[in-house]
Amino acid sequence: MTVVALVVGAALAVACVVLVALPFLREPRARNDRLARPDELEQRRLALAEERDRSLEALKELEFDHRTGKISDDDYRELVGPLRRRAAEALRALDLRAEHTVEAPTPDQAQARG
């Protein structure tokens, strides 16, 4: 039993050391060792994407609540306009950004591509 314990213990220790050292064994001299961090532009894009999704989701909810009678016609008319405007603004801002950065991938994409 002691021999088995020794072998298992040694194998565990070696496997752990190898696993921890793996990134350095794979790339002893990494060309790019920087951790991808979103810059201000990317953070802004994310905020716009979240705003777009939130507005589109809110529009769907509003539509559904109106259909199921939870929202009166007056409230629906009053709420739908601003929501559509917000969704459209977020979409427009994202499209503009996409046109300007079509060749420049986001940091996460760049890292994913290696």
Partner: protein, 662 residues
């Protein structure tokens, strides 16, 4: 073998320290390879902890009494199943289970958490490393499950209350819940440390929170059923501090699950949500502290131990550190969006949050007051059932009615006319039900009638939501009612899974109300041949039978049960005397009536030497709805947790930076 266990734990400790220290440095300085190396250390710590767990399981299975832990918690005659479940029957083993679940979760979280962003993940690793370091430090230096001794001939055995099939499932479920709350905490702190203001951490941890919350909920219900069938006092929840310890983080997590929807839909409550995550995790640590430190007298508590001050220090460190971080990031978390109306879905969520947190905090005060009182005055004050029941009614009833109001109110705002239309049927049905209950004689408890009326209101509003939603889907083009219904649920699993969970809470409320407010209890000393009545049952005591098992002797009273002249069967409440443990346990006998949902609960309070018995009989109306609620709860949680391909695509598009078609 104990050396292997110790070596594996030391390895796990070193790896977790590495994940904490090197991971923090890598995230701070932005070093990619170091960050991956720290992630790998976290993965490797799971393997090392798993080896330690296997060693302990093997020692238990082999009755290796040279392990002090095995000798303290098992005996040769203990059945194998209970011998293995003794893994978490004692302090050291349960701490090892904590670490095993934590490192296992960490592996999955690291491998699947990339959606949170690599910079956030780089900070998640040291946060998980910090929690893991604490538990592995306890296991290596303070409470090792691998302490050895001269092998004893036999062990001390396992507490008889723990010799129950629920021992195999209740503690692991609670641990999956307690430890699961570490993951949203780690991602929330990771996002703050990385100065991220987007919602990627919420998206990455949505299922983690739901799963941890579901495990915690199911674990508590299993524990309640265990107490009901095993402890032998006729109840299922005693406001025991350790029961409360599991309820508090569940309440905080419930609040978070609701308020996080406001952040996702309206971009509001960012600070509140992070605070709730910290509160839920802090309370889960506090729950572990209560159970493991021996600071309170409870059926769940282990003996007085030296880990209490360590836990208290760690809870203070986590709480203070998190609050400082949140304060430092306040400028990033502030939002411009405001509540548009006090009559809106988000407003009802807010009210529900305030009530849930208030309930959690009043329970917390009830738990800590006796401890503080003893610490400062030297006299232990007790906080008993009336205190908790008062706050359960004060906060629980409004929470119940809010579950019915919330689904009927639209997001953003609702006009009086729309409210009148949506509330009409649920109100009419519930008022009718309340009047009917009064006519049937349920007025003996006003609180009971109010609770039942509210319950009917909630069920009616949920049914109406499903009906109106299905009808709207059908109008949008789904051909049949069934197709419309399934498409309704599939398109918004979280919402409709949530409604099913609400229905389960209503069933729970009905079961608790029925059994606690409308029950009957009778006690009598009976000689063989004598009888007693409880509600509409007649009980005739016929005598005793005794049997000898491998690790205990059992004595059972033979009680014939009749309703009118109809014989319903023979029931056998009694006691078990355990040899190795030198303890006696109460073994109750229960007659379930599936038609009415009620139970006849028999307890042999005292087995007398003159052949008589002190028999206690309880009639518990609707109590089985509590257990049925557990099944519905699991169903609702599974609907909410089920992957939604449409949403996955949308999130992938959002975070990949692609544009969407409109």
């Amino acid at each position: 073998m104990p050396d292997l266990g110790r070596a594996a734990l030391v390895t796990s400790f070193l790896l977790l320290v590495y994940a904490l220290v090197v991971g923090s440095f890598a995230a701070w300085k932005g070093r990619k390879r170091l960050a991956v190396s720290a992630q790998n250390a976290l993965l490797a710590s799971f393997a090392a902890t798993l080896v330690a767990a296997v060693v302990l399981f093997a020692a238990l299975a082999r009755h290796d009494f040279s392990f002090q832990y095995v000798a303290d918690h098992t005996s040769r005659e203990l059945p194998l199943g209970y011998t293995l479940t003794a893994f978490w029957g004692g302090q050291e083993g349960s701490l090892l289970l904590w670490l095993l679940v934590l490192t296992g979760y960490a592996v999955v979280a690291v491998l699947t958490g990339r959606r949170a962003g690599r910079d956030v993940l780089a900070w998640v690793v040291p946060v998980l490393g910090l929690v893991g370091t604490f538990f592995s430090l306890l296991l290596v230096f303070v409470a090792s499950p691998f302490s050895t001794q001269a092998a004893a001939a036999d062990g001390a055995g396992l507490n008889p209350s723990l010799q129950n099939p629920y021992m195999a499932i209740h503690p692991p479920m609670l641990y999956l819940g307690y430890v699961g709350l570490t993951i949203p905490f780690a991602f929330a702190m990771g996002a703050l440390l990385a100065r991220r203001t987007d919602e990627r951490w919420i998206v990455a941890t949505r299922r983690w929170t739901l799963a941890a919350w579901a495990f915690l909920g199911v674990g508590q219900l299993l524990g309640a059923h265990w107490a009901y069938v095993e402890i032998g006092w006729g109840g299922y929840y005693a406001w025991d501090p350790v029961e409360n310890a599991a309820l508090m983080p569940w309440l905080a997590a419930t609040a978070f699950l609701h308020s996080v929807m406001i952040q996702e839909k309206r971009g509001m409550l960012k600070v509140w949500n992070v605070l709730l995550v910290v509160l839920a995790f802090g309370l889960s640590l506090f729950g572990t502290f209560l159970t493991r430190s021996g600071i309170i007298q409870s059926i769940h508590s282990f003996t007085q131990s030296s880990i209490g001050p360590w836990f208290l220090g760690f809870i203070c460190l986590i709480t203070a550190g998190s609050l400082v971080l949140i304060f430092a990031r306040l400028p990033l978390l502030r939002t411009k969006t405001r509540l548009e109306s006090l009559v809106s879905r988000e407003a009802t969520f807010l009210y529900n949050n305030l009530l849930l947190v208030a309930l959690a905090l009043t329970i917390l005060w009830g738990v800590v007051y006796p401890i503080l009182s003893e610490a400062f005055t030297g006299q232990a004050a007790s906080v008993s059932k009336p205190y908790y029941n008062f706050f359960l009614k004060s906060f629980g009833l409004p929470l119940l009615i809010l579950m019915g109001i919330g689904p009927l109110v639209a997001w953003r705002r609702a006009s009086l006319r729309a409210l009148g239309r949506t509330f009409l049927w649920p109100l009419a049905v519930s008022i009718g039900a309340g009047a009917g209950l009064l006519a049937l004689g349920a007025g003996s408890s006003l609180i009971g009638v109010i609770a039942y009326t509210f319950a009917v209101f909630v069920l009616a509003s949920i049914a109406l939501e499903f009906a109106r939603g299905t009808s709207a889907r059908k109008a949008l083009g789904d051909t049949g009612w069934l197709e419309a219904f399934s498409s309704l649920v599939a398109r918004n699993r979280r919402r409709y899974g949530g409604y099913v969970v609400h229905a389960s809470v209503v069933l729970l409320a009905i079961g608790i109300t029925g059994s606690s407010l409308y029950g009957t209890t009778r006690e009598a000393r009976l000689r063989p041949g004598q009888s007693m009545t409880v509600a509409d049952h007649r009980l005739v005591f016929r005598g005793y039978e005794t049997t000898l098992e491998s690790n205990h002797r059992s004595i059972r009273a033979l009680v014939d049960v009749y309703r009118g002249e109809k014989y319903l069967g023979r029931y056998k409440p009694g006691k078990n005397q355990y040899f190795a443990e030198d303890q006696v346990s109460n073994e109750v006998s229960i007659r379930h009536d599936l038609l009415t949902g009620g139970d006849l609960f028999l307890i042999a309070d005292q087995v007398n030497s003159d052949g008589s018995i002190d028999l206690k009989a309880l009639q518990e109306p609707l109590v089985n709805l509590i257990w049925f609620a557990g099944l519905v709860f699991v169903g609702g949680a599974l609907i909410a947790l089920w992957p939604d391909a449409r949403e996955q695509r949308r999130l992938a598009e959002r975070y990949a930076g692609a544009t969407v078609r409109v």
